[in-house]
């Protein structure tokens, strides 16, 4: 092969770039399209504003726990495993929190760390068998799903426990107070969103500069700016809407921080990279000095912690711990991860994809509910969307060869 050929870039131009990033861009576009679809349809049929400040707030409050658990589930799935127990674990840890607070009267700031540790221990208990005994995660976590559902019932004695003090409730239903007084719009919210938007653009520009420094062919400039413009406009729009209602929900802040942390962890740290390697080819990873067992164990501990956080948020939102909390969560979470582009066989998937995947599920839930579509059709439609997203992936992969 000649040098001329070897120096030829693999892809060039905006079209080729779009093609090679079809998945992520496609998901973003799909999300925007779904939002616009509901905006138009809901206005036409119900006369309701789908993008009202209240509904946007609701969207985040309703879906935060799915996104939070999906972050952990992505790591589990990238490592080549699955966790079916997250719904039960969330219910159980929520019940533990309620018992500690309501029955034992412990203060909120003590309860939260205790419950997070409990979640970690549950993850460790399951991860131990999966990582070190090589028992399939499907089986271990299926057992965990039953065990922790049972323990929830036992702990609650079949009753609801609640209500909680305001400080715990605010975990889910609270808003960040406006430092500039109670007038509308909420300036603190506006400033935070503007800062976040600026930070996204700034890191993007910095990344491009560094890539140029190392001689990496960057994403085409026009495309870069178009993508950032869409993201910034969307962010500012949502920020404006939230600011004109009650401000930024606490849970949105928690969720955003976690998303940034996990995106950084998966893409820019050695440990994150090793989890992808492990999922891509466990044997090769092992022979490259990667401690595969320890990493698998870690992903389950992490999943347990996030499940307990989600459990507390859900419990706070309902203002009571109930035996039925979190039923079916695992399916929403797993679906979000696969819609987000993760591969069942491990090694593939990105945090941003998962977030978009979870939002797609959440927007559809919310939109269909407003339209008054029955739960029967809703399930059918969500199932078909999941299937379509994965078929799209497989089709793309086959086409690339």
């Amino acid at each position: 092969m000649s040098t001329a050929e070897t120096n030829k870039p693999a892809t060039s131009g905006i079209g080729a770039h779009l093609g090679s990033h079809l998945r992520e861009n496609g998901m973003m576009l799909a999300l925007v399209a779904i939002v616009l679809f509901f905006f138009v349809i809901v206005r036409a049929t119900q006369g309701v504003d789908f993008l009202s400040a209240q509904n946007i707030t609701n969207l985040f409050l309703q879906n935060s726990y799915v996104i939070i658990m999906a972050l952990g589930m992505l790591l589990v799935i990238v490592a080549g495993h699955i966790d079916l127990s997250v719904g039960s674990v969330a219910a159980f840890t929520g019940a533990v929190a309620s018992v500690l607070m309501v029955r034992m009267g412990l203060p909120v700031l003590v309860v939260i760390p205790i419950v997070l540790v409990v979640g970690g221990l549950i993850g460790a208990a399951q991860g131990y068998w999966i990582a070190y005994w090589r028992i399939p995660s499907f089986i271990v976590t299926l057992a965990g799903m039953l065990v922790f559902r049972g323990l929830t019932l036992w702990l609650l004695g079949g009753q609801n426990i609640g209500p909680f003090e305001r400080s715990f409730q605010s975990l889910s239903t609270g808003f960040i107070p406006d430092l500039f007084g109670p007038d509308k719009p909420n300036f603190t919210a506006l400033i935070l969103v503007a800062v976040a938007a600026a930070a996204i653009v700034w890191t993007g520009i910095r990344g491009r500069a560094r890539e140029a420094e190392f001689g990496i062919t960057p994403e085409p400039a026009g495309f870069f700016w178009a993508r950032n413009a869409v993201v910034v406009v969307a962010l500012l729009f949502v920020g404006w809407k939230l600011a004109s209602f009650r401000g930024l929900p606490n849970v949105l802040l928690v969720m955003s921080v976690l998303i940034v942390l996990y995106a950084f962890f998966t893409e820019s740290t050695t440990t994150g990279r090793r989890i992808y390697a492990l999922g891509g080819n466990e044997k090769a990873a092992k022979l490259s000095g990667i401690k595969t067992e320890r990493l698998v164990f870690f992903t389950f501990v992490n999943m347990g912690v996030l499940a307990s956080l989600a459990g507390m948020i859900v419990t706070a939102r309902l203002n009571s711990a109930t035996p039925k909390a979190g039923v079916g969560f695992e399916l929403d979470v797993i679906a979000a991860v696969f819609i987000g582009g993760a591969s069942m066989s491990g090694g593939v998937g990105r945090i941003i994809g998962v977030v978009v995947g979870a939002l797609i599920m959440g927007v559809m839930n919310n939109g269909m509910s407003i339209m008054g579509i029955g739960i029967d059709y809703q399930q059918v439609i969500k199932g078909l969307v999941l299937l379509a997203a994965v078929i799209f992936d497989v089709y793309n992969k086959n086409k690339q060869g």
Partner: protein, 510 residues
């Protein structure tokens, strides 16, 4: 005696390689015919042509079976004609019973409903024929390798076999199991079953074979009658070829002692048997040391057990590396100590096929491209670009997924990965397997370069000419032991073969 099988002028080419070139084989009705040849000589390919694994039309030449032209489209076709092949790796389903295995795909059934009583009855008859007394319901996994081999033969008998092909049937067997198997072969011969045996073990061949055909480099060299079978003749026919200019020139500059392994012993991870026995070996700076041996001689197991205990259990022995006692208890510690192992199976054990080149190169040394534990993707790409130039990895971009590369380029990616860990000693396991001649030459050049830089290189290879062309010293392994050590001057294919065969006989006598 008439010929049951005539293979005439068989030629089989794979992309870039001529695996068989004008091979002739004639097998007489009722005889046991042995086929000898080095690893890679083309024995297995020939048998795959015969059994229809490579269907008619994918090779040139003619197969006459019972005097009539045979054109097998697949294995079922050849099995209908009574030709059954038993591969080295047994094809039994471990979790199914003996009876289920015997009639797999050939069930004793009417209209899809299995007649179990009849199946069990037939199974018992067949098992008795091969000298087994196990119940037909015994799960195959409960049987030892020797008995599984016999079940394979019973399975062949269930298909009314006329020509039975055994590919290295005793390679994985203990001595007394081997003897039983050879006895059974003679018994089947008495019952009129023609057999072809592929084997390296000359004493076995002498014991059962009526004639021997020797294959070398994809061609028939000779067919010997029973009276002509002798070790020297077979070895000469197996290895006699020239090897001019296939290996780059090099003036070895051998320095101080780099790594010494003493009395290395390893147990099989599951079975209670010793896989490596008291292996001692040494590598100096700038030296290329070869390990020769047949498949299954324990070379890979030795290397992997050394490399962070990646194989086996109850590992005993001492290692000195660069004057110190290295901690080789895990792979990451072995890497840190300066050891690198380039696997023989790069697709399964060496690469993450779906990931791009640059991520594969950095995999074993992520610390080298990160600060704290934060990766620098720019640094990662620089490293990959460097190795792409140094190793001449032919690819449009380092972002190319390795699954899209040719075997030779994939091997260069694996080598890059290990060089990036800055090893003192590199163990290369079959570094040129499955890659074309040009890429082989490049890999040899890289090896010479590494030695010239003062690395110690250990090369495991089944291709003897390659070892002779590249190595300063060659250890010969057999059945988990070092059967001998030859300097560059002493080494020849004949001597290596002789060491293996003599060691094999010692093992039998003991």
């Amino acid at each position: 005696m008439t010929a049951i099988l005539e293979m005439q002028g068989i030629t089989k080419t794979f992309p870039g390689v001529k695996a068989l070139s004008n091979v002739n084989l004639s097998v007489r009705e009722g005889e046991i015919h042995a086929i000898c040849g080095e690893n890679g000589a083309g024995k297995s390919t020939l048998m795959k042509v015969l059994s229809g694994v490579y269907p008619h039309g994918s090779y040139d030449g003619e197969i006459l079976y019972d005097g009539k032209p045979a054109r097998f489209r697949d294995i079922r076709d050849s099995e209908h004609a009574g030709i059954v092949i038993i591969h080295q790796e047994l094809a039994l389903v471990p979790l199914l019973s003996v009876a289920e295995n015997l009639f797999l795909g050939n069930e004793v059934a009417t209209g899809g409903v299995i007649n179990w009583p009849l199946a069990y009855q037939k199974t018992e008859t067949l098992l008795r024929k091969v000298g087994l007394t196990e119940a037909p319901t015994t799960k195959v996994e409960k049987l030892g390798v020797g008995k599984q081999q016999l079940v394979e033969i019973a399975k062949a008998l269930a298909k009314n076999v006329r020509l039975l092909i055994l590919d290295e049937p005793t390679a994985a067997l203990q001595e007394n199991d081997s003897q039983k198997l050879l006895d059974l072969m003679l018994e089947l011969k008495a019952q009129g079953v023609t057999q072809i045996i592929i084997s390296h073990k000359l004493n076995e061949i002498r014991r059962v074979a009526d004639r021997v055909t020797v294959i070398r480099d994809g061609s028939t060299v000779s067919t010997l009658d029973r009276s002509e079978i002798n070790e020297d003749r077979i070895i000469r026919d197996m290895v006699g070829r020239d090897m001019a200019n296939r290996y780059p020139d090099r003036t070895p500059q051998i320095g101080e002692m780099l790594m010494e392994v003493r009395n290395w012993s390893v147990m099989h991870p599951e079975q209670p048997r010793q896989v490596i026995r008291d292996v001692s070996l040494s590598v100096r700076k700038g030296e290329i040391v070869g390990i020769a041996g047949l498949m299954g001689s324990g070379r890979t197991e030795f290397a992997m057990s050394l490399f962070g205990r990646s194989y086996g259990r109850d590992i005993k022995g001492e290692v000195t590396l660069a004057g110190g006692k290295p901690d080789l208890s895990t792979v990451s510690r072995a890497i840190e100590a300066g050891l690198a192992y380039v696997t023989e199976d790069r697709k399964v054990l060496g690469l993450i096929l779906d990931e791009p080149i640059l991520r594969n190169i950095s995999l074993a040394n992520l610390e080298g491209i990160s600060k704290g534990s934060v990766l620098s993707r720019g640094r990662e790409q620089q490293v990959a670009e460097k190795y792409r130039k140094v190793m001449n990895i032919r690819t449009p971009s380092v972002f190319q997924r390795v699954v899209n590369l040719s075997g030779g380029n994939q091997q260069k990616v694996v080598l890059s990965k290990w060089l990036f860990t800055d090893p003192k000693v590199l163990i290369l396991d079959e570094p040129t397997r499955g890659i074309d001649v040009g890429a082989k030459f490049e890999i040899y050049n890289i090896m010479n370069e590494l030695a010239a830089q003062g690395h110690g290189v250990v090369m495991i290879s089944s291709e003897m000419p390659e070892l002779l062309g590249m190595c300063d010293r060659i250890y010969v392994m057999n059945e988990g032991r070092i059967a001998g050590e030859l300097t560059r001057e002493q080494a020849s294919q004949e001597r290596i073969m002789a060491l293996i065969l003599q060691d094999g006989m010692k093992g039998e006598a003991a």
